[in-house]
Symmetry: C2
Subunit: 348 residues, 2 copies
DNA sequence: TTTAGCACTCACCAGTTAAGAGTGCTAACA
DNA sequence: TGTTAGCACTCTTAACTGGTGAGTGCTAAA
């Protein structure tokens, strides 16, 4: 059977209407809404065909029709029209995103929050995987007799500190020398690569003071690097699911929230997705618990290279056009913000 | 009317049973459970008295009795027995809390997570109010031609960085001089106090290079300080409320989650509570939305001085004895960890 | 190919009923 | 006077009922 022009229009109308109302739609209603001058009976026939082709389903004999995942897929790929964001919304996004860009983490968290606010869905965002991040600078700053702060700066501008408690006395010259040597050795290398190297240990190990210093500092240095490599996950708008009829069932809401809150697992799911704007609908999701959800993710870039993700999760019935536009606009905005100069900066 | 010994025992049994089962308890059941050899009828009389005194309520005519907030209060103050934590649990707490104490924030977040895991309730924790924190050290670290990192260290060991994008060229000597002067000027002063001072501006304003440098750095310095003063709130175990019968109603669960998620507001509520272990039961809460909840908070100390809070929120029917013990043990543990040496450290 | 008509199905609502749990009251008992 | 047994009463819950409305599927006519 072929998808005639008329079938497509009917399908589009059903999907569009269902996205808005969450109610199964009947032939009579549809006939009135569609100004095509065809009777309910004709529409019933077409609907019946569409159902046979797998685009519609029937909750029960005498309910209206409901779009299937396949219908949403067709809608997203072919039927959906580009949704132009109202200027007002664009303005809000720009304004909120450029305010307070001191830290990458804060900005991304902020973006997730904004996204959930605009879409009324649950949103998420992860920071870029730091695998590709290169070290720029290592410095040990003496604070007092027993405390030294280790500071690591990456090329993308991420800064991390750790306060190190010194068990043995140290001399400032040694610290400063160590800073220089480490920066010299590691500069331009990937963080993950550095973790594999053992240079620190071998270096100058014959001079005793330095050797002790290195011994003290080594575990801190490694754990700081490891921490920097972690991808962070931010969630927002968790309670939005309560205003979605699909999750009126407490059991469903519970499962949804619990799935989302398994952060480690959810992060992995996100990391495994391709780059660009990706929409997966219901059964297209590989994760069992997400079979009733649609997931839209998009990628943003830091320095044009490093990639983080952000998106929303909600019922398969969602305003794909609008949500996609919003996500795209936000990710574009982030990429723009962190383009020229790179990461963590404070540019007031 | 007086609270006879027998009335107390009956009340204790009702509270204890209700905490476990969440079901209203009837005279017949109670008579069997209580090995006091009194008939259901007698118990009914006693219950009736207790109800008149405000300790019990009646959901409807023919349901069993349910403890009122007043009964819980009596239970917590007088009837409750000290709950001794099993060694196994103590071990788990100690182990999980001492692992990875690199950052105060992480540790506190960790504690909240542990707490919700052990109590099956929703837990929260806030970092100490930094009002009392004193500055120890300011340093500007040159990273490259256009980037300088501002580092502030407090006496409690909190470290904060901000990357500053320099619009004008700078000289390292100037940066280093500025670090020294600012450290000299601000050392030992409260963070909040420093914000009020205007020293930076006046200092050396006649030398032009320095003056420009100060101008560039000032807004970053101020906003970093302001950020450091913010109290952070961590929540954990949000989905635990779904396993509590009281929140089987989706509407209630929604209200609960939304209240908790108003972080600013919830933080204020926490900050307003007294120090030590504080239990507020149902209507004792000043917040309208918490009238159905009980809140248990305890305080931990950093360096024996600065105070943060941590606790749980749940239905008025909760295992006060057990939960209190767990919270006490965890806060003790935190205070112990951050006792001798002070805040952010890495003490492997 | 489209349409009108009609029987049929199912969800939903309101009302009814019966069972079960628990109370309150009264009167009898120790 | 405190305690107990008995009994009528209340209220919740679940299961069943019939009526209504929305919507379908089929058939026959246009």
């Amino acid at each position: 059977m072929d998808l005639s022009e008329r079938k497509l229009r009917i399908l589009q109308a059903i999907v569009g209407d269902f996205i808005r109302s969450a109610e199964p739609i009947g032939s009579r209603t549809l006939s009135k809404k569609l100004d095509m001058n065809i009777s309910p009976a004709t529409i019933r026939n077409e609907m019946s065909d569409l159902e046979e082709m797998g685009f519609l389903t029937h909750p029960h004999t005498s309910a209206g029709r409901v779009p299937s995942d396949k219908a949403y897929r067709l809608y997203v790929n072919n039927l959906m029209q580009k949704y132009e964001l109202p200027e007002e919304e664009k303005r809000i996004i720009c304004e909120k995103m450029t305010r307070n860009v001191s830290e990458l983490e804060k900005t991304i968290q902020h973006a997730a929050s904004l996204l959930s606010e605009l879409t009324n869905l649950t949103s998420f965002a992860i920071t870029p995987n730091q695998e590709l991040n290169h070290l720029k600078y290592v410095n040990f700053v003496p604070v007092d007799d027993s405390t030294v702060i280790l500071m690591i700066v990456t090329e993308s501008g991420k800064v991390s500190n750790t306060a190190i408690k010194m068990k043995v006395p140290y001399r400032e010259e040694n610290l400063s020398l160590l800073s220089k040597v480490m920066t010299y050795n590691y500069k331009g290398k990937k963080l993950s690569e550095i973790l594999k190297l053992d240079i620190i240990k071998n270096f100058e190990s014959d001079i005793e003071a330095m050797s002790r210093l290195v011994e003290t500092i080594r575990p801190n240095f490694i754990s700081t690097l490891e921490n920097m490599l972690n991808v962070e996950l931010f969630l927002d708008g968790l309670t939005n699911i309560f205003s979605i009829p699909e999750y009126n069932d407490i059991e469903k809401a519970k499962v949804f929230l619990e799935m989302i809150n398994k952060k480690k697992h959810f992060t992995d799911v996100l990391l495994n997705r391709d780059n660009g704007v990706i929409i997966t609908i219901g059964s297209e999701n590989t994760e069992d618990l997400m079979r009733d959800c649609s997931l839209i993710t998009a990628t943003y870039h830091i320095n044009g290279k490093m990639v983080g993700k952000l998106g929303v999760i909600g019922p398969t019935r969602m305003k794909y056009d609008e949500v996609t536009s919003i996500i795209e606009y936000i990710t574009e905005n982030i990429s723009q913000t962190f383009k020229i100069t790179g990461g963590d900066e404070n540019d007031e």
